[in-house]
């Protein structure tokens, strides 16, 4: 490799990118190039329209050859975006790629400044710093770390199921961990799906069964990830397997134990039917549950709680001996190379908006409750009825409950418009009730969704544009007696209306899971201010996170519908596969190293390292760094009292010169 070290002379090439109008619109690029050209060591200084384009990169390569450059500085966008591009360009020019420094004058300058003079000054100052810094750069080599081929998928909703199947079908070993007793997630609770109105169970259950049958997928339901350590390619994950008091291998799902339970009737709110029906302490979440195995609720089962039960379930199970009250919580440790987090969402609690009377008026229900009511395997066997059993004559649907509201959640939950229109159509199908949808804006941008809106309109569903102010039970007119009254401004008609209805359906929005923060910490991810997991780049890396080897899919990243969740989980699976099939990852050579001659053996660095990469050589009485374990945070470097620890790419003199550089231009 040509190092262009003519007598150790530093020959710098500086390039400032216009980025079309993005930078040049606010920064006087030729002026910056002119200023930098006069700095010592700068051989070429150019401004160019698009540095990241092929001609732009060729320009660098050509200059390296023609002017024997041995350092390159590019002032353009964020290094998080294009540092890689330019390092490759420099390497293609025959120079070690680490003789390169990038200056961020777009995100940090032209896009946030309002004054051209100030922006240009800032660009000069930042570029000056890079030119100062780059002369201290050294040739470095990247290291390769092998990748463990197994993948962990966290969350068994539709997103997790799809990711697991995609990876499994590609021959990768997958662990699918689900917190609840069955996989299926929210989708399993739905009756139909918009906009095609195909049966949710019909399209979901085959996938659920496939997961169970798949030779490459290990399904751990009723389990939770409790600890994650390691890094991309080499994660060690501890999974807690909660005791379900039923041996999954032995249970055949005959449900005779449930019949036999000493509780003759269901007594406890059924989670799957959102409390609309009751279950026993021993139960199966829903008929198509996967695994199709019963589970015992430890907080409700007499035997588990007190040990004083006749254990009629055991008798019913008889020879199969699937019920096992001696089961204990188990911790299992697995090794995986990649992790896909698909932990989903939780529904907004409608009680937080007391104006809508949820919890106060029995006939105010949430959309998911109506979903269970309309489902033929639901608590009313598919009959839409009021709490007293009468069919409703009029139904009002209130949208944006806990969405687009700064007092609760400010985001749009994206699916409620379509979900409500679907329910409206189902109500029309099942009853002869009038349905009125109260909306602020109908958002139906998906494929086939606008057509679905049109269909709803044509079916005679009323749409009133206005956010409902309140739901009350007091009457001002005879027709309001005994009804729930919605008070709303019909913003299109331009007056306030009072509309009496029998049943009110609240389209509750989506929220991050209650434990999203803990999960985020567990997998070392970031959250947006709202609490959704943060993708690495909103457009270019939508399923990646800032932690390599951890991907996100589905609603844990933000509200989305089923097609989008599936698309994302497929993308996450593909990203994981790309890493697995490459077989190794290249590590940024930003590791710390020790200059042994200077090390006094004080050991202050050793406890600082979160990766236990530093050890102490008793023979030499010096600290040692295992570069394979070092992740390059630099904490030890800053702490070393004798300055004997140094860090590649972030050497002290590099940073001091950068400080000098930014302050050099006044």
């Amino acid at each position: 490799m040509n190092t262009n070290h003519r007598n150790g002379e530093v020959r710098i090439g500086f390039y400032i990118c216009h980025c079309g109008h993005n930078i040049a619109g606010m920064v006087d690029c030729p002026a910056v190039a002119h200023y930098i050209a006069k700095l010592p060591g700068v051989v070429v200084s150019r401004d160019y329209k698009y540095m990241c384009s092929d001609p732009g990169q060729e320009l660098i390569q050509q200059d390296i050859r023609e002017h024997q450059l041995n350092r390159v500085v590019v002032a353009s966008c964020s290094p998080l975006l294009h540092e890689h591009t330019f390092r490759n360009a420099v390497a293609a020019g025959g120079l070690n790629p680490f003789y390169f420094q990038m200056v961020n004058i777009r995100e940090h300058d032209s896009w946030v400044c309002t004054d051209r003079g100030e922006a240009t000054a800032k660009a000069k100052s930042l570029s000056h710093a890079a030119v100062c810094r780059v002369r201290f750069h050294r040739a470095l080599e990247t290291t390769r770390v092998p990748i463990h081929p197994d993948v962990l998928v966290v969350g068994g909703g539709i997103a997790g199921i799809h990711a697991a199947l995609t990876l499994g079908n590609a021959g990768k070993k997958v662990y699918l961990v689900e917190r609840d007793p069955s996989i299926g997630g929210h989708m399993a609770q739905f009756d139909k799906t918009f906009p095609t109105l195909d049966c949710a169970a019909c399209i979901l259950t085959p996938k659920m069964s496939a997961v169970r049958a798949h030779e490459n997928i290990t399904l751990w339901s009723y389990s939770e990830v409790v600890k994650v350590s390691g890094y991309v390619g080499n994660y060690t994950v501890t999974v807690k397997r909660k005791p379900r008091y039923v041996n999954e291998e032995l249970c055949v799902g005959c449900l005779e134990c449930i019949q036999a339970c000493i509780y003759k009737e269901g007594k406890f709110p059924d989670e799957f039917n959102v409390g609309l029906s009751k279950r026993k302490p021993i139960y199966i979440p829903f008929p198509q549950a996967v695994p199709p195995v019963v589970v015992i609720d430890p907080e409700r089962c007499l035997q588990v709680r007190t040990g004083k039960c006749k254990k009629t379930c055991l008798e019913a199970c008889a020879d199969r001996k699937a019920i096992d009250f001696t089961q204990k919580e188990e911790l299992v440790e697995i090794k995986v190379g990649n992790i896909i987090v698909a932990t989903g969402f939780k529904l907004f609690d409608a009680k937080r908006i007391p104006q809508y009377g949820y919890g106060l008026y029995p006939n105010v229900v949430t959309a998911i409750e109506l979903e269970r009511l309309v489902n033929s395997s639901g608590p009313t066997a598919g009959e839409i009825v009021l709490r007293d059993g009468r069919p409703p004559k009029s139904v009002g649907m209130i949208l944006c409950v806990g969405s687009r509201d700064m007092k609760t959640n400010r985001w749009c939950s994206r699916t409620c418009c379509m979900h409500s229109m679907k329910l409206a159509q189902l109500v029309r199908e099942h009853t002869d009730a009038d349905v009125t949808v109260f909306y602020m804006d109908i958002r139906a941008p998906g494929k086939g969704c606008e057509e679905f809106y049109d269909k709803s309109l044509k079916e005679g569903i009323q749409f009133v544009r206005g956010r409902v102010a309140e739901v009350t039970d007091w009457a001002l007119a005879p027709e309001e007696e005994g009804k729930l009254v919605i008070r709303v401004e019909d913003t299109l008609a331009g007056f306030v209306r009072r509309i009496p209805v029998d049943m009110i359906v609240l389209a509750t929005g989506m929220e991050p899971q209650a434990d999203a923060q803990e999960v985020r910490r567990l997998f070392n991810m970031s959250c947006g201010t709202e609490g959704w997991f943060l993708e690495k780049h909103p457009k270019l890396a939508p399923v990646s996170t800032f932690t390599d080897g951890v991907f996100i899919a589905g609603c844990c990243q933000g509200p989305k519908d089923i097609p989008d969740s599936i698309a994302q989980s497929g993308a996450a699976a593909a990203e994981a596969m790309a890493l697995i099939d490459k077989g190794y990852i290249e590590q940024e050579p930003n590791t710390a190293y020790i200059v042994e001659a200077d090390c006094s053996g004080c050991k202050s660095c050793i406890p600082l390292c979160p990766y236990t990469a530093i050890s102490f050589d008793d023979a030499k009485q010096k600290a040692q760094i295992n570069e394979a374990l070092c992740k390059g945070c630099g904490t030890c470097v800053a702490a070393c009292p004798s300055a004997s620890i140094r860090q590649n790419l972030f050497e002290d003199e590099e940073i001091f010169s950068e400080i000098e550089g930014v302050l050099a231009y006044v």
């Binding site: 998080l80 922006a119 930042l126 970031s526 947006g528 600082l608 630099g634 940073i655 930014v662």
Partner: protein
């Protein structure tokens, strides 16, 4: 009080994972803010050596801003706790040197808090504008100027003493 054209000069050390990304986000979101902060990217706020801060002030910065992940969210586990510890010690030192607390600031800004980058920088620029220039390089020259004659005088008397000493010893 000072040159009306004077603009506060702030050197900022941002960690790669949270605050630098947040500053990028502020850019992508076009959140206009004061141009005075010059960002130096580090992998972790734990890499911020107190010497960097002192060096920046010594070389003419009017303020130093350190940005890291929120406590508990460090990409490397707990690098930011180390930063916090060092920062608190450094601040005591700076106070003794007569450098106002507002000039050196530690902020936790996560990758999604572009808005916060804007408010913190604007806020800090205003505070430092109110404090006026720190101007350490100039002050150091002044101190040197004051010190040189003193040192010389001290040196002279010392050498005089030294000269006197042997005689005294002899006496």
């Amino acid at each position: 009080m000072s040159d009306p054209k004077w603009q506060p000069r702030i050197v900022a050390f941002f960690c790669n994972w949270c605050t630098y990304t947040a500053a990028d986000l502020a850019g992508v979101s076009r959140l206009k803010h004061a141009s005075n902060a010059r960002v130096i990217r580090l992998m972790c706020s734990g890499r911020v050596d107190p010497q960097f801060i002192l060096d920046a002030l010594a070389k003419g910065a009017d303020g130093v801003l350190i940005g890291g992940c929120h406590l508990g969210d460090c990409h490397y586990g707990e690098g930011n706790y180390k930063t916090l510890r060092r920062f608190q010690m450094l601040q005591r030192l700076l106070r003794d040197m007569g450098i106002e607390d507002q000039r050196v600031r530690l902020e936790w800004i996560s990758a999604s808090e572009g808005e916060r980058v804007k408010t913190v920088i604007n806020d800090m620029v205003e505070q430092i504008r109110a404090l006026g220039p720190l101007n350490l390089p100039q002050r150091r020259q002044d101190w040197d100027r004051e010190m040189t004659p003193l040192a010389e005088a001290a040196g002279e008397s010392e050498s005089a003493e030294q000269r006197a000493e042997p005689e005294a010893a002899h006496a």
